[in-house]
Structure formats: C-alpha cells, structure tokens
C-alpha cells in the first residue's frame, strides 16, 4: 500500500492505495488503519483500494471544522470526488461503517454496492455497547478480539512500552484520533442513522464476527432490517477487529458485491 495525499475542501487528506481492479473505498474504524492492514492486502488482490484517513488519524492534518455526522458524511463524499471516483464499492468497518451507511443514505443514487463490517451507528438499550472511551489499553484485546491473547500480541507488536516517549506519543495519538472519533461516537455511537437506513438503495452486505464483544452481533439484525435486501454474513471465531482476525473471509464476503 502506498500512502498518498489528496486535496479536499477542508484539508489535505492522506490515503492508502494499492491493488488492481474495480475501485473500492475502505473507511477505517476508530482505531485507524495502517499500510500493513491484512484486510487491505486481501481486498487489493482484486480491487483498486483507496483507504482515506479521517483527519487527525496517522500523520494527517486535523480538521476542526468537521464536527458532526453531516460534516463527516459530506467530507467523505468530498474525498471520493477528489479521488475522481464514481460509484466505487463502498466498504466501512465499525466507525467507518457508520460513515459509509450515512453516505449511502444521503446519496442513494451514488452508491450501488455497500459493505458494512461490524458497523457502528445503531443503539439498542437491551444490548448497550461498552464505552470505548473508558477502556484502558490492557482491557482492549478482550473487547476487540475473539482470541484476546493473540490480539494483544498483534496490538503491542513493534511497540516499546518501556520507552519514555511511548506514553506521550500514545496520548497524543489517542487525543488526535479518538478525539476526532468522539465527535460521532461519544458518549453513545448513535446519531440518528436508524431513521435514514431506509433510503439506502445499494446492494448491501453486512459482515459480523460472532465473537464481537464491542458491538454485539445482535446489531446486525438492525442493519439487515433497515436496509432492503441486505445480506448478512456471520463469521465464526472473529471479534470486532475482524479485519485483523479473518481478513480473507471478510474480503470474500465483500467480493460478493462484484
């Protein structure tokens, strides 16, 4: 994957790109995305992948003027336009799934293929989603992976937690990334999407890990019910970070969109 920059109305946007085939836009979750993401690699086998970073993620510039759900939705449409794409396959994971669903709802004639991977955006009082913003780093693997031990190893790989600069870098990254994500996810990751889902016309596949403990699989039914004709793909032995745990199976599910 190459890291490139495209100019948009608000800020220059950083995006990862690679692969060959039909254009596919991947919107990352609250944890961000890196060039070595295994799902991007899988998708790039048969698609030209574009994975823009939300402003403030990675080394990208912050955009203070992007404050609410409509701002995020329109900004991401700006990115698609700036990349020169028309009707790309739109794929979003977690927070990115929430943004992708909003994009498809606000412009239903511009999205014909949509993949939502463990998307945020709905809320069910019977199944409250844990507060991601109070979770301590050591508690993350349990929440995010089917196999917490293997997940912890993935999360800490290449990080030297004894480095005195590590904590400060970690705090700055967290403040930039989760600070931005908080604008649509804090304190409850719901901004009215349920009343807009009916507008989506895209052929939609909803992908969920059976062991997702952050956004429990029961939420899949809300999306399936809300989007006409949506197909649900449940993946066993996978948690919320299904992109890391089962990249090939997710890519295969996305592949059903053509």
């Amino acid at each position: 994957m190459d890291l490139k920059t495209v100019q948009t109305h608000h800020v220059p946007v950083r995006y990862l790109t690679g692969g060959q085939g039909p254009a596919l836009v991947f919107l990352h979750g609250a944890g961000g995305v890196t060039a070595d993401d295994p799902l991007l690699a899988e998708l790039a086998k048969s698609h030209t992948v574009y994975a823009p970073l939300v402003p403030g993620y990675g080394d990208s510039e912050e955009a203070p003027e992007i404050r609410d759900m409509l701002d995020f939705t329109l900004h991401t449409w700006d990115v698609v336009a700036a990349l020169g794409l028309r009707d790309p396959i739109l794929v979003g994971h977690s927070m990115g799934g929430m943004i992708a669903a909003e994009m498809a709802a606000i412009a239903p004639n511009d999205v014909s293929r949509l993949a939502l991977i463990a998307p945020a955006g709905l809320w069910d009082d019977e199944h409250p989603i844990p507060d991601l913003f109070t979770v301590l780093p050591f508690e993350m693997p349990e929440l995010l992976f089917h196999d917490a031990e293997a997940g912890a190893a993935m999360m800490t790989a290449g990080r030297d937690v004894t480095d005195p600069n590590f904590l400060q870098t970690y705090l700055v990254t967290n403040a930039r990334q989760l600070g931005m994500a908080g604008r649509i996810l804090f304190p409850i990751p719901e901004r009215g999407l349920s009343q807009r889902l009916y507008r989506i016309k895209a052929r939609t596949v909803v992908v969920w890990g059976d062991s997702d403990r952050l956004i429990p699989p029961v939420y899949a039914h809300g999306f399936k019910k809300g989007i006409a004709g949506a197909e649900l793909v449940s993946i066993p032995e996978a948690g919320h970070l299904i992109n890391l745990e089962k990249p090939a199976v997710v890519a295969e599910a996305v592949g059903r969109l053509g």
Partner: protein
C-alpha cells in the same frame, strides 16, 4: 492576601474497604453508598462550617461543582451559595465555579450568578471552570474535543449578557438565542470578578492574562509539586506582556490542618487525611481524561505529569510523606505559618483556597483547626505582598450598606396603611 475557606463536601461514610470493593469514587460510584436521610445532617453541618468560617475573618467561603462524585456532593454549588448568601454578612461567596459548557443555555449561569450577587449585596466571586473530564464528558456527555469550543462560546455569551444593556440576538454554534436580556443583572460592575480553575494548559494561561481573570490551580498534590506549573504561568504572564505580576492573578488550593502542636495535628487529623487520599481520590483511570478533552499542545507540554498522582498513587503515602512533600500543610500554628509563607512566596499567589474540611473530618475537629488558623496563622500572613495591597481587580466589591437576613419583625405591628 485573600483566604477562602473551602469545602469540597465529601461524603463521609465511604466504607473502610471502599478501594477494594469499588472501581471509582466518581462517575459510576455505587448509588447504595449514599444515604439521603444521613445527607440531611451532612449538608447542614457542611453549610454550618462554611458559615462558621465566615465569622472568623476569612475573606471568602467557597464552593464548587462536581457530579456523581463521592468527595463532592455539590452538583449545584449555586444552591449552597444561595444559602450562604442569606446566612452570612461579610465574606465573599466564592463559587469556583459553574462548568459553563454544561448549562443549556449558559444564560442560566449569568442569571443565577446575578441572583447570588444581588442577594449577597455584591459579594460574589465567580468561577468558570471548563470542568473535569469526569464531570463534563463522562457524567454530562459533552463531546471531549468540542468541549473547549463550547466553553468559549458559553463564556462569551455570559459576559455579553452581563454587560449589554439592551436585548441582543446571539447566533452561536451551540446556542441560538433571539432575545438575550437577563433579568436580574449583577450588582458588581462591569461584572463580578472571575477566577478560572486550570491544570496547566497554555491556552488557559493566555485566556486569564488577556481578560484579567485570576488563574486558579486547584490540585490536591500540594504546593511543592505545583511549583513547575506556577512558574510556567508566571513566565507566560511576562511573555504575554501583562502590565504587572500581581499575585492576585493567581490562586492555589491547599489542604491545611492546624493543631496546638505538630504531634497533636497528626493525632487528630491523620485518619481524615488518609480517608481523603485513600478513598476520595480513588478514581478509575479510564475516567481520567477522555481522548480529545486536553489539547495536543497541553499533552505535549508535559504539564500532565505534574497533574498525575505521585508514583505508586496517593494510597501509599504516610502522614509524614504527605506533610513533608507538601500535599498537606499540617502542624502547630508556627509550622503551618512557615510552610504557608514558603508556599505563598514560592508560588507567588495572592488567593489561597484553604481546604480545611478534609475527608470524613467531624465538625468539632474542623472548627478547632479552622479557628486556630484564623486566629494564629492568617493574621501573620496578611501582608506578604504590601505593594499589591490596593489591587482589587480580582475580588468582589460589595455594597457599603447591606441588609441582613431575618430583619423583619416577627409579626406585622398593625394593618398596613394603603398608599394614597
């Protein structure tokens, strides 16, 4: 010097095994530990103590705002302040303060502070904290990375509401108001003095310097650990070209316990200090700072390291360590005087918020400590900054002639005579 007697109003009945059995004193504290019937006495005792301090020559009595918090049972400080305004005559009513980003619309703060100023005869000192992340984000659901923008707008609206004499429209991002026209407005003109609690961010330093507000550092870790932060503030005051370095541009909160001797202080107060540092400050780290609440600049400045608890946490500290390291100033009047003088000169602060009710301290001990401080310590600290004695920009200016509560006769003397 301005001394304000401050009560955080801790809940005094947290069990001995509170730390072991509960993850946090704040945000998700166990509801069942609060006993409303017992709180009747707790509230009234705490208000009595504030009123008592008001009779001993303290310049102010102080209250603050916390939510879902075991060491602060004042979600609405204005309610307590209203009671104090009625029952006291001389001291400033220091409300430090209202977390203005939480009020919808913030005009409510302009109105309530105006009411307090009017009822008290111009004795209000107003505080505008951004609010802790626990209160503002986790309890009251404000989006962390938008909190400061919302705070700024609330501030601008309140100041305008206090100072404009004609109705105006306010088209803010967070507040859309067609007819702002507060009624009543404060006695103090152009506005009551404003103190801003802060935790080391450069933006807050500048905000205070530019608006002639007093910067208050409200920490529980004492004056020795506060030195670097306050040095940063005074350096900024100079850099920013403020016309003076008046010590009243700054305030500091300090836990203080006075007895006849150092030994007596330890004997009387150590269990209550321990209650405070062990049980009251037991906050789940996941609630400490929501991502986005602090600015990147503040995190990068390293100021947070001074804000954080000492290595190993407070719970491991002994009385000796707590007093020697300055978390707590405790001892005989002479010991306390020496350390207070060291603090006041070292930090160059003119406003001292005296935390004299500590943890589960009973009223008799609290009164004893307070009286000794007022009679044997405070008078000796009065004139540390004689060159700034006339600086009244950061303190209230009450009416010369004030009425007192309860001045009506018990019964009407006779039927009122109708006006002709």
């Amino acid at each position: 010097m301005k001394f304000t007697w401050f009560n955080l109003m801790p809940w005094p009945y947290l069990p001995d095994d509170f730390r072991e059995k509960n993850r946090s004193v704040w945000v998700d504290i166990d509801q069942r530990l609060f006993d409303p019937a017992k709180s009747h006495e707790v509230y009234n005792t705490y208000m009595d103590l504030l009123e008592y301090a008001g009779t001993l020559g303290f310049d102010g009595i102080g209250v603050n705002e916390h939510h879902q918090n075991g060491y602060g049972i004042m979600p609405s400080p204005n309610i307590i302040a209203a009671g104090l305004a009625r029952r006291t005559v001389d001291p400033a009513i220091v409300v430090l303060g209202n977390s203005i980003a939480l009020y919808n619309p913030p005009v409510r703060v302009a109105e309530e502070f105006a009411m307090l100023d009017c009822i008290s005869g111009g004795r209000l000192v107003a505080g505008f904290p951004v609010g802790t992340s626990m209160d503002t984000n986790y309890c009251y659901g404000q989006i962390p990375s938008l909190t400061r923008e919302k705070y700024q707008e609330a501030h601008d609206l309140i100041i305008k509401a206090w100072t404009e004499r004609d109705p105006f429209a306010f088209n803010g991002r967070y507040n859309k108001l067609r007819h702002v026209n507060i009624w009543p407005r404060p006695i103090q003109q152009p506005r009551p003095p404003i103190h801003i609690p802060g935790g080391g961010s450069v933006e807050t330093y500048d905000f205070c310097i530019d608006n002639t507000y007093s910067y208050s550092y409200l920490s529980f870790s004492g004056y020795i650990r506060a030195q670097a932060l306050m040095n940063g503030y005074w350096k900024r005051v100079e850099e920013r070209g403020a016309p003076d370095k008046s010590p009243y541009r700054a305030g500091f909160a300090q836990t203080i316990c006075v007895a006849e001797t150092d030994e007596e202080a330890e004997r009387l107060y150590s269990e209550h200090v321990s209650y405070f540092y062990n049980r009251c400050l037991h906050v789940y780290p996941g609630f400490a700072d929501a991502p986005g609440y602090r600015t990147i600049k503040t995190i990068q400045s390293g100021a947070l390291s001074q804000y954080a608890p000492p290595t190993g946490g407070y719970s491991s500290l002994t009385w000796k360590e707590l007093t020697e390291q300055g978390h707590v100033i405790a001892g005989s009047p002479e010991t306390v005087r020496q350390r207070m003088e060291e603090m006041i000169k070292g930090l160059h602060v003119g406003n001292i918020f005296c935390l004299m009710h500590v943890g589960n301290m009973p009223a008799d001990k609290c009164m004893y400590s307070t009286k000794l401080f007022a009679e044997k310590v405070m008078p000796k600290l009065r004139n540390i900054f004689p060159e700034y004695a006339d600086d009244d920009r950061f303190w209230c200016k009450p009416l010369a002639k004030r009425v007192s509560a309860g001045s009506l006769p018990a019964e009407p003397a006779r039927a009122p005579i109708p006006a002709e």
